[in-house]
């Protein structure tokens, strides 16, 4: 698709210039202001690009000259490419003033390639954009045909006729640099057909690799790669509507239908999806999306639709939703479930792992996956590091029940300082004050020395003695029955008193 007057017509659309007046964009070239792009009305009056502005104003006094803004042009072109995604999911901007659309497999939705092109041209014309469309088997041929077509209608080239169509077109339409084009003209090669008849080795030796590459791309021998902004996921289904929808019930029903379509495809290759993204294409081109993830691969459309439905209230339908796309961004192999015969083994047909995974998925998608875990032991004496979190479906490793060390039920994240009265040197405390309350100690066991792991220890801070990195833990019970786990760091030397902290509580 080629928009010959894109910069000026963009200005007309945004209202920076009125369509009635002739408009041109202006840039400064070597200190002199020259016209860069002219609108059709100005071109009809005789203005051309690269004409000096003063001269242009002399010809046409009511000319509206606006500074060229290629950045805004590019951004708007990408927006236009995004709008074109309603025709095909693969739409990319081709700077400075074209759009690529890959309509392989999309044309039947509109009744044929010519009809698609006609609809697109009509829509563009309704928005005030002149366009020339061409449909062909390769991007290179389509580009050449779009830029060459004189009449204002789209031309559709049947497959396989690229060489014949290109034969009569001028060489300039092969997207070469101007120097090569000038050289080719100098040699008398003006049409692409003449270029194609030359031996390829001589051509590449004389002009470099580009002409041969472009020729091959146009004729379909070499594939051309275009960077699509939204590359399609292989597992994606799309439903578009004639009338925009917006109610939650309709959206839920659409999600169920899409999930059924996607799961039938997944089942054919025995795969299940791990994460799903549903994108809603709104009328005003916003595309809100919701994503869910599951712990195990899943192929049940009701479960997928249910998990997506929980998050549906985050989506704002705006003025309506035109199309919904559901894609499975991660898949994994999934064997078909083993069905149990009901009269032989009357247990549930779903394996219990799957049912637990359902609940865990629901909670994980609602709260966030990092908020569900199982604990496994980690080899470390330091109590803060003795537990490790693993995802909940990982089978739990066993905890040694016969461990001699007694550990508290509640462990504070930061040990709280307490004031302790204790006889020196190693006896457990007699009384202590915690959170303002005084506790008299009735029984105590300990001390248990836990030192910082020497293989992990960084250099000791200079102001703290080495002995601060060991802790002597005491398990203490007060006269009311409360049981505490406290430790002392440092030793009671003459210079500094030891510090006591409360680290945990026993039930």
């Amino acid at each position: 698709m080629w928009l010959p007057d894109w910069p000026t017509q963009r200005l007309h659309r945004t209202g920076a210039a009125s369509p009635d007046r002739p408009t041109a964009t202006v840039e400064a070239v070597r200190g002199q202001r020259r016209l860069k792009a002219v609108c059709p009305r100005a071109a009809a009056l005789g203005l051309r690009a690269s004409q000096a502005l003063a001269q242009a104003r002399a010809i046409c006094p009511e000319l509206m000259a606006i500074d060229a803004d290629p950045v805004a042009d590019q951004a708007a072109l990408e927006g236009l490419a995004g709008w074109c995604e309603r025709f095909s999911p693969l739409a990319a901007a081709d700077p400075p003033d074209g759009v690529w659309l890959d309509i392989t497999g999309c044309a039947h939705l509109f009744g044929g390639e010519a009809e698609l092109a006609a609809v697109l041209a009509t829509l563009l014309a309704r928005n005030g954009l002149n366009s020339r469309l061409a449909v062909a088997g390769t991007p290179g041929t389509a580009w050449a045909l779009a830029h060459a077509a004189v009449p204002e209608q789209a031309s559709v080239l049947p497959a396989g006729q690229e060489t014949a169509a290109l034969a009569t077109l001028p060489v300039a339409l092969l997207r070469l640099d101007p120097r090569s084009i000038a050289e080719l003209h100098g040699l008398g090669l003006r049409s692409i057909g003449a270029l194609a008849r030359l031996p390829r080795a001589d051509l590449s030796a004389r002009f470099g690799p580009l002409p041969v590459l472009r020729l091959d791309q146009a004729q379909g021998r070499v594939a051309e790669a275009i960077a699509w902004p939204h590359p399609p996921a292989p597992w994606s289904e799309r439903l578009a509507f004639a009338e925009p929808i917006g109610t939650p019930k309709d959206l839920t029903r659409t999600l169920v239908r899409l999930a059924i379509l996607l799961c039938t495809r997944l089942e054919a290759v025995r795969r299940g999806g791990l994460s799903f993204v549903a994108t809603f294409c709104r009328v005003d081109d916003a595309r809100p999306a919701i994503a869910i993830g599951t712990a195990l691969p899943v192929r049940d459309p009701m479960r997928i639709a249910g998990l997506l439905g929980d998050k549906l209230e985050q989506v704002d339908p705006g003025f309506g939703i035109e199309a919904v796309v559901l894609e499975a961004t991660a898949t994994a192999p999934l064997a078909p479930p083993q069905m149990a015969l009901p009269h032989i083994a009357p247990s549930s047909t779903i394996a219990p792992d799957t049912a637990l995974a359902d609940t865990l998925d629901e909670l994980a998608n609602r709260l966030g996956p990092a908020r569900l875990w199982r604990a496994t032991p980690q080899e470390s004496h330091v109590p803060e590091r003795s537990v490790r979190r693993v995802p909940p479906l990982v089978p739990a490793s066993s905890w040694s029940h016969g461990s001699a060390a007694e550990r508290p039920l509640r462990l504070f994240r930061r040990p709280e300082p307490i004031e302790v009265t204790a006889p020196v040197p190693d006896d457990p405390p007699r009384q202590f004050r915690w959170r303002g309350a005084l506790h008299r100690v009735r029984a105590a066991s300990g001390p248990e020395r836990i030192a910082a792991e020497w293989w992990r220890r960084h250099a000791a801070p200079p102001d703290r003695p080495e002995t601060d990195l060991v802790r002597d833990y005491y398990r203490v019970e007060d006269i009311g029955g409360g049981r505490f786990w406290m430790f002392r760091t440092g030793l009671n030397t003459g210079r500094s008193a030891a510090r006591w902290f409360l680290h945990g509580l026993f039930g």
Binding site: P352, A355, L356, D358, T359, L360, E362, L363, R366, L367, R371, L372, W373, R374, A375, T376, P377, P383, S386, V387, P392, A396, S397, S398, W399, H401, S403, A405, E406, R407, P408, L409, R410, L411, F412, R413, Q431, R435, A437, L438, H439, R440, R442, A443, A444, S445, R475, V476, E477, D478, I479, G480, G481, G482, R483, G504, L505, F506, G507
Partner: protein
């Protein structure tokens, strides 16, 4: 109208009597026995009715830390006959796993869920109970309204998972407990001095008060956590004469 298969001579009154004699709290999912006659006398089904909601609370500083309530709950969870995973849902994740084997509970059975608010905790509890894939679901909740409690009780009955609600206000701001509760039993646990041997603390001991039991009556005991008897979670050391909970005398001053 008499149900089919019933002897036609039985009057409606006798039918009603037989219905009333059926266990009130619906102990159709099993019962967890304490192994003590005084406890069994207080509870309608002779033990803790599984597949129902039970509330465990505490008073004083324990309302903030929730330690003895957690220990009591851990003993009950360890003795459940169902060996499936247990959900522990709490907004404050300071439960230390190596401390659980002392109460007989294997930490590998726990699936921990860290929520942010009481509302999230209750919603997560309801989801886990409705799925019915866990042996029990325990949630640490501060504010429990009547309607959420009723919904939790219905979710428990639906699939047979036992629900435990630990009343805990981890950030202070203790609110008074509601008078009526939808839970089948309501316990209040306070620490009690243990049997100290050689001036070392003995096994954990608690003063357990059964404040409310649907279809039963109240009681108070001193119970000790024991791992010797796998069937009975706690060993009742002594029964307390005054069934009413003692006023808050835990001043713990010297």
């Amino acid at each position: 109208m008499l149900p089919a298969g019933l002897h036609p001579d039985r009057t409606a009154l006798q039918v009603l009597r037989s219905h009333l004699r059926a266990p009130q709290a619906g102990a159709t999912y099993g019962v967890l026995r304490f192994g003590d006659t005084s406890v069994a006398a207080c509870l309608p089904a002779g033990g803790l009715a599984l597949g129902n909601l039970h509330e465990i609370g505490a008073r004083g500083p324990e309302a903030e830390t929730g330690t003895v309530a957690a220990g009591f709950a851990a003993c009950l969870l360890a003795a459940l006959p169902d060996r499936r995973p247990v959900f522990w849902i709490a907004p404050c994740c300071d439960l230390h796993m190596p401390g659980l084997p002392a109460y007989g509970l294997d930490p590998g059975r726990l699936i921990l869920v860290h929520t942010r608010t009481d509302v999230e905790t209750l919603a997560a509890m309801e989801t886990a109970l409705r799925a019915g894939m866990a042996a029990a679901v325990l949630g640490e909740v501060g504010k429990l309204g009547r309607l959420p409690a009723r919904r939790l009780q219905l979710s428990c009955r639906k699939r047979g998972s036992t629900g435990f609600v630990l009343r805990r206000w981890p950030y202070g701001r203790r609110e008074t407990m509601e008078e009526a509760t939808a839970a089948v039993t309501r316990w209040e646990v306070a620490p009690a001095p243990s049997e100290a041997a050689f001036r070392e603390p003995g096994p954990a001991r608690w003063r357990v008060v059964l404040q409310h039991a649907r279809g039963g009556h109240e009681g108070a005991w001193i119970m000790e956590a024991t791992t010797d008897d796998a069937a009975h979670p706690l060993r009742v050391v002594a029964g307390l004469a005054d069934a009413a909970p003692a006023p808050d005398r835990r001043r713990l001053a010297g």
